[in-house]
């Protein structure tokens, strides 16, 4: 119980710190984003009046009120989900834009992380168990090489080979042009077909973290006495590897889950741009290219919050895996 309480308190404090960081960041940067913003608005056809300039200044936090009152306004806006209007999509609020894109990324990142975690952990167990032999070297070197592939580069290559040249998969987007998202099976199948290439790219490049971590944990665990005892008792190799060693070697990997999730999220930012996938990553890509500060700020907040929530959930699940923290 103490563990859960501690993790909850930590979650709340880190949440507050992330919100404050997001508030301070644009105010600490040099340069004037206001002029850049007004320039963007002007080129999008919005008339620049004095009221417009004032609105942009308030939105970007040019100090004309005290910092504390600005902070209060900021927190209130966050609580009511008022993130302002984006420059790239001036017809809808930022909240709506993000709301449309978020489910796509959640599904892509969620499925990819789970698959990469499962496959990577199993490969790591295999490599650790067969340490020093050809299987170990192959798995280690292979996953190191694949983990070094820049995600956007692998995405470009897969796009060229499998989508452009061979036509097995669609070239871009999350769903075919002309269809509207709905809850039918045909749309789900279409969406899955569009998500295969981004998912494969993400999974391949983030696999190595799990494989290598699990392999190191396995090697350390296999040196423990209870493993030797199990082997001496005559248990089969596979039983010892899976039920004894892997179960305990898994624990540090679970605690490292948060870091790995960050890697997948980072990778998705790069990969979604290449595939024009309509998720958060693609939005960030667009926002950066257009110097769209309200959208960028809100996206950064959403990404950080999602990470915090995911890590918090994993921390709570850890109690089920490791009875030692249940005191």
């Amino acid at each position: 119980m103490r563990y859960v309480l501690r993790k909850t308190v930590l979650f709340v404090i880190t949440l507050w710190a992330a919100l404050t960081l997001n508030f301070l960041l644009p105010r600490l940067m040099p340069g004037s984003p206001v002029d850049a913003a007004l320039g963007k608005l002007a080129s999008a056809g919005v008339p620049i009046t004095n009221a417009e300039r004032q609105a942009v200044e308030i939105q970007l936090g040019v100090p004309n009120a005290s910092l504390i009152s600005q902070y209060g306004d900021y927190l209130r806006n966050i609580a009511t989900l008022r993130f302002g209007t984006s420059y790239s999509f001036p017809t809808q609020t930022v909240a709506r834009t993000i709301g449309t894109a978020l489910p796509w990324t959640l599904i892509l990142v969620g499925v990819t992380t789970i698959v990469a975690f499962a496959v990577g952990t199993l490969l790591g167990v295999y490599a650790g168990w067969r340490r020093g032999r050809l299987a170990d070297s192959t798995v280690t070197l292979g996953s190191t090489l694949f983990g070094s592939f820049p995600p956007f580069w692998l995405g470009l290559l897969l796009l060229y080979l499998l989508a452009f040249k061979l036509g097995w998969f669609p070239i871009k987007g999350g769903y075919s042009d002309g269809t509207t998202p709905n809850w039918s099976f045909s749309f789900a199948g279409d969406a899955i077909r569009h998500s295969v290439l981004p998912a494969v790219t993400l999974a391949v490049t983030t696999l190595s973290g799990w494989v290598l971590g699990m392999r190191n944990n396995m090697i350390n665990t296999l040196g423990e006495d209870y493993v030797t005892f199990a082997e001496a008792n005559g248990l089969r190799g596979r039983t010892v590897a899976l039920l004894y060693a892997a179960r305990n070697a898994l624990l540090p990997n679970v605690t490292a889950f948060g870091l790995q999730l960050g890697a997948v999220v980072s990778g998705s930012v790069l990969v979604e741009g290449v595939f024009s996938y309509p998720g958060i990553g693609g939005l960030l890509f667009t926002a950066v290219t257009n110097h769209d500060f309200p959208l960028m700020q809100a996206l950064f907040l959403v990404i950080t919050l999602s990470m915090l929530v995911a890590i918090f959930i994993v921390d709570l699940l850890y109690v089920r895996l490791d009875p030692r923290v249940r005191r």
């Binding site: 940067m29 070094s148 452009f164 980072s266 290449v274 996206l299």
Partner: protein
């Protein structure tokens, strides 16, 4: 009657090599480095990594001699595929891709190793401070480290780089270093905290050594392999981060680096013009550089954890 033997006495294993009469032994740190280098070279993975890294460094240093053309000269016909003059084809501006690839090694190495070094320096400093004195300072640094770890690196880098008005190689180095110090800091902090309780540190403190001496002359030398491993890991991440930033157009597009070649390829739709080699080559170079650093890191893992050494 004593017999004076002309053969020197056998060297007992486990002791320091005898100092030849009239000569001086190598100083401690050099001996340590020589032994480490020998162990690294003996590990097959690390050896491969060192060779690949060596090739890339040679290419970077001798790029002016090795490149057939200038990387920025726009004298060729644009959008060419590989041919006898331009081995990897040309960009949309008529620049030779192969020369760009060779010169690009310089920026990627500089930014990767530079940002990695800065990040490691910050991590070691903060880790030592936090680990040595438990208390308020430790809690604050620990909390900041956890916060920095939670925030995903590349989105933070993108935001920071996008806010900065002008982009140059140095802004990339700074942004990358600022976002990747946290992992190393956590490792350094826990290792310092472990070493702090050891007897040799206690005896050093009791014999009156001052704080900087204890930290830098007693604790830090015992963390050398950890610092080296952390540096290599940071450098690997920095190479990827720099390429990512430039691919997104957040670096200086005028600099010649592997990331900007990919940026041009994406801008000019190299896929549609069939210039897949222009996409394959720089990405493969990035992957090879990162792999070589990681392979050397495997060797350093084996140095510090003998269980991981190849038998």
């Amino acid at each position: 009657m004593t017999v004076i033997s002309a053969v020197p006495p056998p060297h007992a294993p486990g002791t320091a090599p005898p100092v030849p009469a009239g000569g001086r032994a190598l100083p401690g740190p050099l001996r340590f480095a020589a032994r480490a280098a020998r162990t690294l070279w003996g590990d097959a993975k690390a050896r491969t990594g060192i060779i690949i890294l060596g090739v890339i460094v040679v290419v970077a240093v001798f790029a002016p001699q090795l490149a057939p053309h200038s990387p920025t000269a726009t004298t060729f016909t644009p959008y060419l595929g590989p041919n006898s003059v331009n081995w990897l084809g040309t960009t949309g501006n008529g620049q030779d891709v192969f020369s760009q690839l060779l010169y690009g090694a310089r920026v990627s190495l500089l930014v990767g190793l530079g940002a990695g070094a800065i990040a490691t320096a910050v991590a070691v400093t903060l880790g030592l401070i936090a680990g040595y004195r438990p208390g308020a300072v430790d809690e604050v640094i620990g909390f900041l480290t956890n916060l920095a770890l939670v925030i995903p690196g590349i989105p933070l880098m993108i935001i920071l780089a996008a806010y900065l008005a002008n982009h140059s190689v140095w802004t990339v180095v700074l942004v990358v270093a600022l976002t990747s110090w946290a992992t190393g800091a956590r490792v350094m902090r826990s290792q310092t905290a472990t070493l702090r309780t050891r007897d040799f540190v206690t005896s050093a403190v009791f014999s009156g050594e001052r704080l900087p001496r204890v930290v830098f002359r007693e604790i830090l030398p015992n963390m050398t392999s950890l610092v080296a491993a952390s540096f290599l890991a940071s450098a690997t991440a920095a190479v990827l981060a720099e390429a990512s930033l430039e691919f997104l157009g957040l670096g200086n597009p005028a600099t010649v680096s592997w990331g900007t070649i990919l940026y041009s390829a994406e801008q000019q739709n190299a896929m549609l013009t069939g210039q897949w080699l222009m996409v394959l080559a720089p990405g493969l170079a990035i992957a090879l550089l990162m792999t070589s650093l990681t392979l050397i890191n495997f060797g350093i893992d084996a140095l510090s954890n003998p269980r991981l050494r190849e038998k």
